[in-house]
C-alpha cells in the first residue's frame, strides 16, 4: 500500500489526461494534415494527368474507374480501375503498394508493369506526393468496373518480360532540384519531367521504345495513337521558339495556339485534365522550364506545329529539314525507305523482346505489327 495514494491517483489522472490531450491534439493535427493531404492528392491527380488515361472514352464513364483503350506499338492496353473497389479496383492498397507502382513500376505481387503506364516519368515523384495521391484515391467511392484484359502479342503476354527493359532503361531516382536554377525552373522541371510526363509524348524514343532524354521534348514522330508530336524546345522553326511566355500560358490554360487556332488531338486532353487545373504559378513554372530548353538541331522535330497557319506557310514547308514532306508525300522511293525503316524498327523490337517473326510480313495481323502496318497505310 502506498503511503501517498493521492499521488498515485493524481499521477494516473495526469497520465490519462496527458494521453487524452496528446491523442486529441494529435487527431486534430492529423485531421488538418490529412485534409491538406487530400486536397494535395486531388491536385496531383490533375498534375499527373491520371484522369485522361484511367477514364473510359464514353460520355457516361466514371472518372478513374478505368477501362480506357490505349493503342500502342506493342498492343492494346486497358487502363485499370483506380477506385478502391476490392474486386475490380485497388481495394486494400497501402501507401507502399502505391509507391511500388508509381515509383518503381511494380505490382503488389512484384511483377513489373508495362511502361505504357508512365511510371518511368512518375519515378521521380516525391514520397510525399505519392502518399497524397494514394490517400485521395483511397477516399473515392469504390466503383465495380471490371476492365478487359490487355490484347498483347504472345511475346509480351507475361509481365515478367518487362524486367529486362526495366534493367536497361528504368531510372528510379527521385527528382533532385538543381541549386543553380531558381524555384520556378525547378518546380517546372518536376512538373514537366515527372508528374506531367510531357516527355512520354514529346520526347523521341529509341528503337526499343525507351525515351531518348538527350533529345528531351524535341518532338516524336512516333507518338501514342500514331500521332506525330511536335518539338516544344526553343527552335524558332519546328519548335516553339517564337512563342512568348504569355502565348505558352494561354495555351496551357485553354489550348489556344498563338494564331488563335485551338489544339485538338491528345494535347487537348492534357489541357482539359491537367494544365487547365493547375495554379497560375505552376503553369508559369512549366512555361519557364520549357523556355529554358535550348534549340536542338534535331533531324526530326516531330510534327510541324499548327502555328504553321499563322505564318501562311504550308505545314510541310514550315519544317526546316524537309523531312516532314518525305513522310507526308510517299513517293515510291521514299516509300521504300519508309518500309526499310519500319522493318528495321520491328526487327530491333523483335531482337529486344522476342517479337514474333510474323511481324516481318506486311499482311501480319499480330497486334505488335498493327502499328507498323498503320504506319505504312498512312503513307
Amino acid at each position: 500500500m502506498s503511503r501517498r495514494p493521492w499521488l498515485r491517483v493524481e499521477s494516473r489522472l495526469c497520465a490519462a489526461l496527458l494521453v487524452w490531450l496528446s491523442v486529441s491534439t494529435g487527431t486534430a493535427a492529423s485531421a488538418e494534415q490529412s485534409a491538406d493531404r487530400m486536397e494535395r492528392g486531388r491536385y496531383l491527380i490533375h498534375a499527373g494527368g491520371c484522369i485522361s488515361c484511367h477514364t473510359a472514352d464514353r460520355p457516361d464513364a466514371i472518372p478513374l474507374a478505368g477501362g480506357r483503350r490505349l493503342e500502342t506499338p506493342f498492343g492494346v492496353f486497358y487502363s485499370p480501375n483506380l477506385t478502391p473497389d476490392p474486386k475490380t479496383g485497388l481495394g486494400g492498397w497501402t501507401d507502399a503498394d502505391f509507391n511500388a507502382a508509381l515509383r518503381h513500376g511494380r505490382a503488389p505481387d512484384g511483377s513489373p508493369y508495362y511502361p505504357v503506364f508512365p511510371y518511368p516519368a512518375y519515378a521521380g515523384m516525391s514520397d510525399r506526393d505519392v502518399a497524397a495521391i494514394a490517400a485521395w484515391l483511397r477516399s473515392l467511392p469504390p466503383v465495380d468496373n471490371p476492365v478487359p484484359a490487355h490484347e498483347l502479342p504472345w511475346y509480351l503476354g507475361s509481365r515478367w518480360v518487362m524486367l529486362g527493359w526495366n534493367l536497361l532503361f528504368f531510372d528510379s531516382r527521385p527528382f533532385t532540384a538543381d541549386p543553380a536554377r531558381d524555384t520556378d525552373w525547378n518546380r517546372g522541371a518536376y512538373l514537366v519531367r515527372h508528374l506531367g510526363h510531357c516527355g512520354e509524348c514529346h520526347t523521341p524514343r529509341n528503337l526499343l521504345g525507351a525515351r531518348d532524354d538527350s533529345r528531351e521534348l524535341a518532338g516524336n514522330p512516333d507518338g501514342p495513337d500514331n500521332e506525330k508530336i511536335p518539338n516544344i524546345r526553343q527552335d524558332r522553326d519546328g519548335g516553339i521558339g517564337r512563342w512568348s511566355i504569355e502565348d505558352l500560358l494561354l495555351f496551357l490554360e485553354m489550348g489556344m495556339l498563338p494564331d488563335g487556332d485551338f489544339t485538338g488531338s491528345s494535347m487537348s486532353a492534357v489541357i482539359d485534365d491537367n494544365t487547365s487545373h493547375l495554379t497560375a504559378d505552376d503553369r508559369r513554372a512549366i512555361a519557364v522550364y520549357l523556355q529554358s530548353l535550348a534549340p536542338l538541331d534535331s533531324p526530326y522535330s516531330g510534327a510541324p506545329a499548327r502555328t504553321a497557319h499563322f505564318h501562311h506557310e504550308s505545314r510541310a514547308g514550315r519544317h526546316g529539314s524537309g523531312q516532314q514532306s518525305a513522310v507526308k508525300v510517299c513517293r515510291p522511293q521514299q516509300e521504300q525507305e519508309k518500309w526499310q525503316e519500319c522493318l528495321q524498327r520491328t526487327w530491333f523490337r523483335w531482337i529486344a523482346i522476342g517479337c514474333s517473326p510474323a511481324c516481318m510480313w506486311p499482311s501480319s495481323t499480330d497486334p505488335g505489327c498493327k502499328h507498323r502496318s498503320m504506319h505504312m497505310a498512312s503513307c
Binding site: K228, E246, M254, G255, D259, G260, G264, S268, H309
Partner: protein
C-alpha cells in the same frame, strides 16, 4: 429602249443563272472555303485574346471581333457538305458518320459564340472570360474528335 432594257435584264438573268451553275461548288473549293472560315475564326479569337488579356489596348475593337465570331459561329453548319471529307482536308470521315453528335458540337459552338458576344456587349468582364473559355472548349472539343492531327 424599253426592249433593250428587257434584253439586258434577260441576259443578266441568264448570265446570273449560268454563273450560278458555273459556280456549282467543287468539293475542293468547299474545303478551301471551310478552312478560310476556320482561319478567320482563329484570327478573331487570337485578336480577341490579345485585347482581353490586356496585351494590347484597343478595347474598342473587342465588339467587332466577337460580332464576327458570333456570325461565323452560325455559319459553321454549312461548311461540311457531303463529299468534302477527302482531298486536301483534315476533316475526318467520322463527321459524316455521326451527324447527330457532330451537330451537337455545331450547336454548342453557335451558342458559345453568341454568349461571348452577349457578355462583351453587356460589359461583364467575368462573364466574358467564362464565355471565351467556353468558345475555346467548343473549338478544342470539335478538333479533338473530328480533325486529323499531324500525321
Amino acid at each position: 429602249m424599253r426592249r433593250s432594257r428587257l434584253t439586258t435584264l434577260l441576259t443578266l438573268a441568264t448570265l446570273a443563272f449560268a454563273g450560278n451553275s458555273l459556280a456549282a461548288t467543287t468539293p475542293a473549293d468547299a474545303i478551301k472555303y471551310r478552312k478560310a472560315v476556320m482561319s478567320a475564326m482563329a484570327a478573331h479569337t487570337s485578336a480577341f485574346s490579345l485585347i482581353s488579356f490586356g496585351r494590347v489596348e484597343h478595347q474598342g475593337h473587342m465588339l467587332a471581333h466577337v460580332d464576327a465570331l458570333a456570325v461565323l459561329g452560325t455559319q459553321l453548319k454549312v461548311l461540311f457538305p457531303a463529299g468534302t471529307g477527302t482531298g486536301d482536308t483534315d476533316a475526318l470521315p467520322l463527321i459524316w458518320q455521326e451527324q447527330a453528335r457532330f451537330g451537337e458540337l455545331l450547336t454548342a459552338s453557335e451558342k458559345s459564340t453568341a454568349d461571348l458576344r452577349a457578355a462583351v456587349a453587356a460589359g461583364d468582364k467575368a462573364a466574358t472570360m467564362k464565355a471565351f473559355k467556353a468558345v475555346g472548349d467548343s473549338c478544342k472539343g470539335c478538333h479533338d474528335r473530328y480533325r486529323k492531327e499531324n500525321d
